[in-house]
Each structure stands twice: as C-alpha cells, then as structure tokens.
C-alpha cells in the first residue's frame, strides 16, 4: 500500500447531491421473551453524515445486529424514529442495502445472476443492466467468475460478491452486519483493503457492525462503542486519520488498544511490546 497523506474523494461532492444522511432519534426496541418484555436497545440517538464510514463495536448481545435490521427495515416494530435523508423508515427499500455475515447468495444462480437480482426493481433500463452488473463484479475484482455458482467460490470471493450485489442497486446507505466475521484472518485483511478502496471510490454512506476492533479502527471515520443490557451507545470515537490508512500505523494501534480497554474494562497500559488484540465477550 502506498502512503498518500491526503486523498481527494474520487468524485467531487459537488456533482453528487447530498445523500445517505441517517438520523436516529430516541430509538428503543424490546422483544417478548417468555411473555416478559426484554429491552434490546434503549434510547439510541445517532447522526451519520453522507459519505461517512461508521462502525459499531460492542459485546455480543448489545443489539448491534438488531439496530441494523431496524435501519434496513426488515424489522419495523420499534419506538422512536429512523430517518434517511429526512424520510422515515417504514419498510425495506432499495435506498438501503445490507450485507449479511453469511453471504446469502442464492446457490441456484450464477454470480452475475445474483448481482443482477438487485437491479430487478430499480429504474435502471433493462439494456443497461448487464453493464452495471459487470461494473460491480469488476469493482470487487471478480471479473472472470461471472458464470460461477456460489459453491464454486471461496468464502472471501462469495463475500465480495455479496458486497457487489448490495452496491449494484446504488443504495444511499450500505449496512454491513459483520461482513467479514466468517472469513479467515488473511482473507479478512484482504477484503478490508478492498472495502476501503470501494468505499473511497463510491463514497456512499456505510455503517458496519463488527467484532474486530482493528477492522473498525482501520476503516471508520467514527466508531460507536455499544454497551449491553440494554443495548445503548456508550461512547463515540472519532478516527481523524486520512484514507487510505496504513495498517501498521502507531496511531491506529493506540486507538485500537484504547477501544479494547474500554470494551473489556481493563486499564490502558502503554507497553513497549504491543499485545495481540484480544476479543472478550462479557
């Protein structure tokens, strides 16, 4: 990776109307468990700017995935308000994309058919769709695998294909629910780099849930640290470093240690020997 101190957005913001501003106000969510209400999310307030990359980290069971399902509209039973560009979220929409932890490509379709599905109900004219599909397959570096079925792709390739499918409909907001959680360490680093490149190229708003603090620090403009029982935002950390970032940067490592300490409740110790990142579940 080359070091570039400051890189201008691929497209000047002036040509693109402001889009993908997410506003969440007083959001709460409860499930019924054995007849008793169980609060998963309490009083979430959040503003995400257009084009921003925001990550959510936190212990298992702090309602991170539930929050994404509410924002994308798969679950509409909540208190409070979710607005995207001023419009209240009431159901799913092509404005909001979601990448799941499991790639969820349809096994009975080839890669290009899977990506093409995302365009079925867009107003992109039919004759241009094949081009859009090819463009997005190229974006995730899978050109040549158009006719492959999902079982013929590796885990990392399938997850990149899922990202291509989600981006094909040009959502204003892309939600990522632990998109790289199921990948092995090396593949994950590779796809992280890809994801950063894609985000810099597209500049759509992205909101990612992850267990991997290092990944959050590497990719995000801001990191939400959530606490469980009930799920709430504990702290918001700004990562004020330009993209693309240097993975080995000392600042990133310090930030990672700080956030890990916050999550595990351990005091921050500045050691000369950096400890490997550990993930603990409370």
């Amino acid at each position: 990776m080359t070091v570039q101190p400051h890189i201008a957005p691929a497209r000047p913001p002036a040509t693109q109307p402001e889009r993908g501003a997410l506003t969440i106000r007083n959001l709460s969510k409860s499930f019924q468990i054995d007849g008793a209400p169980f609060q998963v999310l309490r009083d979430i307030n959040l503003e995400i700017r257009p084009g921003e990359f925001v990550s959510i980290v936190g212990a298992s069971g702090c309602g991170k995935s539930t929050l994404l399902r509410l924002i994308v509209g798969l679950d509409t039973d909540y208190d409070g308000e979710i607005h995207l560009d001023g419009q209240r979220v009431t159901t799913t929409s092509l404005d909001r994309g979601l990448v799941f932890q499991d790639h969820r490509l349809f096994p009975w379709m080839t890669l290009e058919e899977n990506v093409g599905l995302a365009l079925l109900n867009t107003d992109i004219p039919k004759h241009r769709r094949a081009g859009v599909v090819a463009e997005h397959i190229a974006l995730v570096n899978l050109t040549g695998f158009e006719k492959a079925y999902p079982h013929q792709l590796s885990g990392g390739m399938a997850q990149r294909a899922a990202i291509a499918r989600a981006l094909a409909a040009s959502p204003k907001l892309l939600l990522l629910d632990e998109p790289l959680g199921a990948l092995d360490a090396l593949t994950r680093i590779h796809v992280q780099t890809e994801l950063q490149r894609i985000w810099m190229q597209q500049r759509s708003t992205m909101l990612m849930v992850t267990h991997d603090v290092e990944e959050a620090v590497y990719l995000s403009d801001r990191i939400l640290i959530m606490a469980p029982n009930p799920g709430r935002i504990r702290r918001i950390v700004e990562v004020d470093l330009p993209h693309p970032r240097e993975r080995g940067s000392a600042q990133l490592h310090r930030l990672r240690d700080e956030i890990l300490a916050e999550l595990t409740g351990a005091p921050v110790t500045r050691s000369l020997i950096p400890f490997p990142a550990k993930e603990t579940h409370s």
């Binding site: 798969l74 799913t92 979601l98 969820r104 349809f106 096994p107 009975w108 079925l120």
Partner: protein
C-alpha cells in the same frame, strides 16, 4: 479382504455370483422330467417366448401402453400434486382445510380404492388412470409441501431487501429453493405410478399392457411369458428412473458434486 473388495473385477464377479446361482437353481427346477417343471420354464423356453413376443410386436406394444399409462398418470398426479403442495405450504388456511383430509386419505393403501373406483368407472382405462394418477399425486404433494414450507428465511429476507414482488419471490427464491425436494417427489411419484400401472393392469386385466399380458399368461400357465413380462417391466422402470436421475443432475447442477 477389504483390499480385495476394492478390485473392480473381484467386485463385479461377486455381484454376479448370486444371480448366476439363482439362474442355475432355476434351470435345475425347470428340467423337463422334474416334479416342478410346470411351475418353471427352461431358459430356452423363456428365450423363445421373448423372440416370439418381440417379433409379433406385442412386447413393444405392451411396453408402450404401460409406459404411456404411467407417464400420463405421472403428469396428471404430478401437476395436481405440485399445485396442492404449493397451496398448502403457502396458505395456512388451505393447509388447515386440505391437510387433515389429505393425510387420512393417504393412509388407505393405493389398491384399496380399486373396488370402489371399479364400481364407479368400470374396469377400463379410466379406472386405471385414476389409480395411477393418485399414486403419483401422494408423494408429489408431500415433497412439494416440504420443499416450499422450508425455504430458508435468510433467502426470503434478501428478496425483501430488493423489493421482490410475490411473483419475483416465487420465481427467484421459492421455486428454485424447493426444486430439489419437488424432484425427489417426482422420482417417488414415478416409482409409485409404475407400481400402480402394473398392479391395476394385472388386477383389472382388460386391454393391453405388460400387466395384462402377465395376467393372461398366468391364466394360460405360460411361465415363460410371465418371466419375459416381469423382466421387461423391471428394465423399463430402471430405464425411466435413470432418465430422471440424469435430468435431475442437469437441472440441479448448481448444487455441485458434493451433494
């Protein structure tokens, strides 16, 4: 010993041992002077019967009649069975209305309907077609229902994300996801339809068909003809099933070799 069993020539010879023994035993029983010569037919006689039935065109005609009867029943029963299975899986109301009736009627052995149907429709082709269609209907309903009822929710969620209409959901998610089980149902339906065909042909015994020939040969004590008809029905069943297996492999090529 296990290593020896991996040798293909050894495996082939071992598989052949039982049939050859059976044939030898059969030939011994069929000795012209033997006490049981009437109940068995010599291999020569069977071969002669085969040549005669083949040359007169009766064998081909019988095979075609039986096959088309089974396939017609498969189409009627299969199409109706898919429709009912899909309706039951997609609507709890239909499931509640039709489910209990379907599951209780299914308990009656297929040929148990024959006296009633024979009384209503006579002993002709209509009665046979109805039984064969019914034979194909049961397994198709059951498997289609299972296939459609258990389409994974995670795929349906993807459809919601991309604003699928009900028709798109059916075409792109429900149908392909259920297809493996639907095809399993069709394969079972074919086996059942074949049993129903030969069974009703033997029992109703009019017109033509492999089963009819068997019944007539039984009345005439022509063991040689019975054997030829039995072999023909077995081979035909095997052949049609094999075609279905090849079709299935082609249709479900997305599953990959491991499944």
């Amino acid at each position: 010993m296990t290593r020896l069993l991996k040798n293909s020539l050894v495996r082939f010879s071992l598989g052949l041992a039982a049939p050859v023994a059976l044939l030898l035993l059969w030939s011994a029983q069929a000795e012209p002077e033997g006490a049981r010569s009437l109940a068995f037919a010599s291999l020569d006689a069977i071969a002669a019967a085969l040549v005669q039935l083949a040359a007169s065109g009766q064998l081909l005609r019988d095979a075609l009649v039986s096959l088309s009867r089974a396939v017609t029943g498969l189409v009627f029963g299969g199409v109706l069975g898919m429709a009912v299975g899909i309706a039951m899986a997609s609507s709890p109301l239909v499931d509640r209305l039709a489910g209990p009736l379907y599951h209780s009627i299914r308990q009656v052995p297929l040929l148990g309907w024959l006296p009633l149907i024979g009384l209503w429709l006579g002993n002709g082709d209509d009665a046979r077609l109805l039984i064969v269609s019914l034979a194909a209907f049961y397994p198709t309903v059951l498997n289609t229902y299972e296939g459609f009822a258990h389409v994974e929710k995670r795929y349906l969620e993807v459809g919601r994300l991309y604003d699928f209409s009900p028709a798109q959901r059916f075409r792109h998610i429900l149908w392909p996801a259920a297809l493996p089980l639907v095809l399993t149902g069709i394969a079972q339906a074919l086996a059942f339809a074949w049993i129903g065909t030969i069974g009703t042909e033997i029992l109703l015994g009019s017109g033509s068909g492999l089963g009819v020939t068997m019944a007539t040969a039984q009345a005439q004590q022509r063991v040689d003809i019975i054997i030829v008809a039995i072999c023909a029905s077995g081979l035909l069943g095997f052949f049609v099933n094999h075609v279905l297996v090849l079709l299935r492999r082609q249709i479900l090529r997305w599953q990959g070799a491991h499944q």
